[in-house]
């Protein structure tokens, strides 16, 4: 039915005289028959074996992260056996740190780490939240880019450069200007008392605060951005002022993520080593005075490890490292779970 009555065949192209179509070079290069080796390789590459090998290789690489954690844990536990057996749990309750007589206790370092990190949070958290609010809701769009860029730049400066700056610039300021003022007005609390060398707990906390500011501010900004826009619009439609809108619509919804950001900052502060070592004064004391030199878990390792003599000394320092490792893992795990709970489902990137 549908067949045409007559099919017109294309007229054959008449080859010009003297050249037959066979001699014409083909328009598309036809490859030669592949050699045996090539064929073998090609079959390998498209076969099931190649896919399997590749997948296995990727799986092994991904597993290397477990291997790294396990190796670190094993090395730390193995090398601190001597100290663990000698002191037991008393290691974390004793404040004696006397390498000459071979008595070691980690309490001053735990105290120093906790106080300096918490003080740093106390300074950095309100500031970073205010800056996040400013960048998201208040500042003119022109300034948004430069401010974000500057805070990211702050995160890119190496720790040792912060330490150098603090040692040369911040320490004299703390000793000669800020210290006396604090002592005069708040000296009655007992937190700010002579002698003030400039290096000490307070200076270290300020440096830590500057260093953890970028991480807290960028993550809390991501978390606040993840709050659906309807929440803001609804609050504004009810006649809320900007602050009320932020409080009811944004901060309340983002609070879990903000807590996560703060704990991430805490994790960073607990483990920060070099800048703290340079300005905290490195003296194992437990005193209320914030001008007093102190010591942290990380800085005692950095400062004394290379000159530690005797197996027990080295082993005690490694046990401190083990404690630091476990504490930061727990702190970071909690923080990650909290941040994930809020930003899951959003494409927000959490650094």
């Amino acid at each position: 039915m549908n067949q045409p009555e007559r099919v017109t065949l294309p007229t054959p192209i008449i080859a010009p005289a003297g050249r037959t179509p066979e001699q014409e070079p083909p328009a598309v290069a036809v490859p030669d028959q592949p050699s045996e080796i090539r064929r073998f390789l090609r079959e390998c590459g498209s076969g099931r074996a190649a896919d399997g090998t590749f997948g296995a290789l990727m799986l092994v690489s991904a597993f290397s992260i477990f291997v790294i954690v396990a190796l670190i844990l094993w090395v730390l536990i193995h090398d601190s056996q001597l100290s663990i057996h000698t002191f037991g749990w008393k290691f974390f309750g004793s404040s004696a740190w006397d390498p000459v007589n071979g008595s070691f206790g980690a309490l001053p370092f735990i105290y120093g780490t906790l106080v300096s990190s918490l003080l740093a949070l106390l300074i950095a958290v309100p500031l970073s939240l205010c800056v996040s609010i400013f960048v998201l809701d208040i500042c003119p769009p022109v300034l948004r880019g430069p401010i974000s860029f500057l805070t990211e730049l702050l995160a890119a400066i190496p720790s040792v450069v912060y330490g150098l700056w603090a040692l040369v610039v911040l320490v004299p300021i703390m000793r000669d200007t800020v210290g006396p003022v604090l002592e005069k007005w708040l000296g009655w609390t007992g937190l700010f008392a002579e002698p003030n060398f400039g290096v000490g707990m307070l200076t270290a906390s300020i440096v830590l605060a500057i260093m953890i500011f970028p991480i807290i501010s960028s993550i809390s900004r991501d978390v606040m951005k993840a709050v659906p826009i309807h929440q803001r619009e609804a609050a504004l439609a009810l006649g809320a002022t900007r602050w009320e809108m932020l409080r009811i619509g944004v901060l309340r919804n983002a609070r879990i993520g903000i807590v996560g950001a703060v704990i991430l900052g805490l994790g960073r502060a607990l483990g920060e080593t070099i800048a703290v070592t340079m300005v905290i004064g490195n003296h194992p004391d437990i005193v209320k005075n914030l001008f007093n030199p102190a010591y942290t878990l990380a800085s005692v390792i950095a400062n004394e490890f290379t000159e530690a003599t005797g197996d027990l000394y080295v082993s005690a320092l490694i046990e401190i490292g083990l404690a630091l490792f476990l504490v930061t893992i727990v702190v970071n795990a909690i923080a990650r779970i909290l941040v994930w709970a809020v930003t899951r489902g959003n494409s927000t990137r959490v650094a």
Binding site: A62, L71, I210, T241, T273, L324, R336
Partner: protein
């Protein structure tokens, strides 16, 4: 009758409105003020670094090794080269491992239990202090062998892996699925699809992630303290202690000599400039001739 709403006096209305507006202005002012407070130390650090560093730089800094105590002059040439070597060792070990881990998470372990556990472990490992990595590398290598550039490279590589794994995964996740399906439709095997389609499309982002990890470890001092150890002389052997820029800055910053403080500032400036320069160059080079990914 709907007159059940309590009537407030005019005065009370005004007082409430005034209080609300005052709180609003107060918080706005607080936010502006804290932004200024935060930006001041930042600008101070950068400005001081530029001023002190630039005024202390000279040719000797780039050509000489550190001078002995008491002699003036000297530079950090061996530290600059040493940092380069240690970072190269770290990159050779850390970057392939990190990218492969990211490929697993994005292409094989999506949504699975194992993938989630690995992702979580990588995030947690990211937050482990660098000094702990230093002790681990000490216990793994230095105890059995000796202080060496290799041990420093291993410590830094361990720090690079989780960062690169996570950014690679995120970048691969932005590659449109249609591209992979097209490749599968043509009968291309999965490994070939990943190598030539997914990775190639996501390459600029992955390289950015690698360079971020690189920049992060390039400034690290703590893991090198008892692995690479530092060296006041030229050394090109991976099996010997080697100088590194951050280590040398740390040593000089804590010294009592003005001359060495000056060198520390110059070192800090050179360190930051070198990090930024290498990151920018690699990113520029990598962004040529690649397929644009994204949605």
């Amino acid at each position: 009758m709907i007159s059940a709403l309590p009537q407030r006096s005019q005065q009370m209305e005004r007082a409430i409105r005034w209080r609300r507006s005052l709180t609003n202005h107060f918080v706005t002012g607080l936010a502006v003020l804290s932004t200024v407070v935060v930006l001041v130390p930042l600008v101070a650090i950068l400005g001081y670094l530029l001023y002190k560093g630039a005024s202390s730089l000279n040719l000797a800094f780039f050509t000489k090794v550190p001078a002995p105590v008491g002699e003036s002059g000297g530079g950090m040439a061996n530290s600059i080269v040493g940092s380069g070597i240690i970072l190269a060792v770290a990159s050779v070990m850390g970057i392939p491992l990190g990218i492969a881990g990211g490929v697993y998470l994005a292409e094989y372990g999506r949504g699975g239990m194992l993938g989630n556990i690995i992702r979580f472990t990588a995030d947690v490992l990211n937050g482990v202090p660098s000094i702990v990595m230093g002790i681990a590398a000490y216990g793994l290598i230095v105890v059995h062998y000796k202080f060496s550039a290799l041990a420093g490279g291993v410590a830094l590589a361990i720090m690079m892996v989780p960062t690169i794994t996570r950014t690679t995964e995120e970048m691969l996740a932005t590659v449109p699925h249609a591209l992979r399906e097209a490749a599968f439709g043509l009968g291309i095997p999965k490994w070939r699809t990943i190598m030539s389609i997914s990775l190639r499309t996501a390459m600029p982002g992955i390289i950015t992630g690698c360079m971020l990890a690189f920049a992060r470890v390039a400034g690290e001092t703590a893991p090198l303290l008892f692995t690479a150890f530092g060296n006041n002389f030229w050394n090109f052997k991976l099996t010997e202690p080697m100088a590194a820029l951050p280590l040398q800055i740390y040593v000089y910053a804590l010294s009592p000599y003005d001359e060495w403080h000056r060198l520390a500032w110059a070192g800090a400036l050179v360190l930051i400039v070198l990090i930024m320069l290498s990151v920018t160059l690699v990113r520029l080079y990598a962004s040529r001739g690649t397929i644009k990914g994204g949605h």
